[in-house]
């Protein structure tokens, strides 16, 4: 970004700042992690402090896809479709170890990590992650959104390299 002038960098910062505190999330809640998602969202831990208090249950109006809970092979096409329906700029948070790697459900029914299907920006491991972890992951996501800027120049999402896919 060495070519960028004063106004573009300031604008990037301003847009990033605005975006990171107005996260409209789509909670794709499937399993156990949903309980901790509820706990995080409610008054005790209060995710609203981070500007992410309003879930949008329509993928077309959401910025961040929270994939909360195990994704089975039966569910995988649905997840992919919802991801495709979201408008750019969009981010994906893998919530819980099942979405990160498949967890201990290494069997015929379960997808071994959603990053084999869609790109993921932030991984929050834990089975299920405590609300504190979730808030930490959310803050990491905010840093990432801030860096994103207005131009759309986005750091590459961390999809798993093909050679590492078993």
């Amino acid at each position: 970004m060495s070519e960028a002038g004063f106004f573009t960098t300031r604008l990037d910062e301003a847009v990033g700042w605005a975006r990171k505190f107005s996260i409209f999330q789509y909670p794709f809640v499937t399993a156990c992690c949903g309980m901790e998602y509820m706990a995080t969202a409610c008054s005790h831990y209060d995710v609203d402090r981070f500007g992410a208090g309003l879930p949008r249950f329509s993928p077309r109006q959401a910025d961040v896809l929270f994939v909360v809970g195990t994704i089975s092979h039966k569910m995988a096409p649905v997840l992919k479709r919802i991801y495709d329906q979201m408008a750019e700029p969009k981010w994906v948070v893998a919530f819980g170890v099942c979405t990160c790697t498949g967890g201990f459900y290494d069997n015929y029914a379960t997808v071994m990590g959603i990053d084999t299907i869609i790109p993921v920006d932030v991984y929050i491991p834990g089975c299920p992650p405590r609300p504190e972890y979730v808030l930490d992951g959310l803050m990491k996501l905010q840093v990432k959104i801030q860096e994103h800027g207005v131009s759309g120049a986005r750091s590459a999402p961390e999809s798993r390299p093909a050679e590492l896919v078993r």
Binding site: H73, A76, Y108, G113, T116
Partner: protein, 193 residues
């Protein structure tokens, strides 16, 4: 009724249908031939002596690997003989799986007025894996039988809608059979990881 008298009452009523019975750990269990399943089920539900109002559970067990399971002890491959601990003995042993049939369909019945439980087992051969559907007797059999079809590939004669329930239609095979590898995946999208 307690387990022994329940088995005895059923034996008296159906001397030919009841192939074997035991009450291991107090669970009354009868082994019934599949030809007489519907008749026995109707009687169990309607007869005032039994009044089995609930079909609590219907499932199956694949006994094809019974007694053949390798017991891998840690260090065994290194040449150090470490035997697994001995099985904890039992004063009143279980009669064992109903050989030679591969599958056994297991129903758990419960009587709400009389508060007794009964387990019915129906041996099923692999070549002709079909049992009469219990949907006409208990409504709960509908989904439970679909699940058994999905997981074990046992068909239910007379079932109104026998299709997969937990897995997707594209899935090939029946995952709870012992010869289905635990992590053989058949993804709809994405890599076979």
């Amino acid at each position: 009724m307690n387990a022994a008298s329940l088995i005895q009452a059923l034996r008296d009523r159906f001397p030919h249908a009841v192939q074997a019975a035991h009450s291991y750990r107090g669970d009354a269990t009868v082994l019934i031939g599949r030809e007489s399943l519907l008749e026995v089920a109707r009687t169990l539900k309607e007869d005032p002596a039994f009044q089995m109002s609930f079909l609590m559970d219907l499932t199956a067990v694949d006994f094809s690997a019974y007694g053949k399971k390798r017991s891998p002890a840690f260090f065994a491959h290194s040449g150090v003989a470490v035997k697994p601990s001995p099985e904890i003995p039992d004063e009143e042993p279980w009669p064992g799986p109903p050989a030679p049939a591969r599958f056994v369909v297991v129903c758990h019945l419960f009587s709400l007025p009389l508060k007794h439980r009964l387990r019915i087992e129906i041996p099923v051969e692999e070549a002709d894996a079909e049992v009469d559907s219990l949907t006409s007797v208990w409504a709960s059999a509908n989904w439970l039988e679909r699940e058994v079809w999905d997981m074990f590939g046992i068909r239910f004669h007379g079932h109104p809608n026998l299709k997969r329930i937990l897995m997707y239609d594209e899935f090939v095979g029946h995952p709870l059979r012992k010869d289905y590898p635990v992590n053989k995946r058949q993804p709809l999208i994405g890599p076979i990881n």
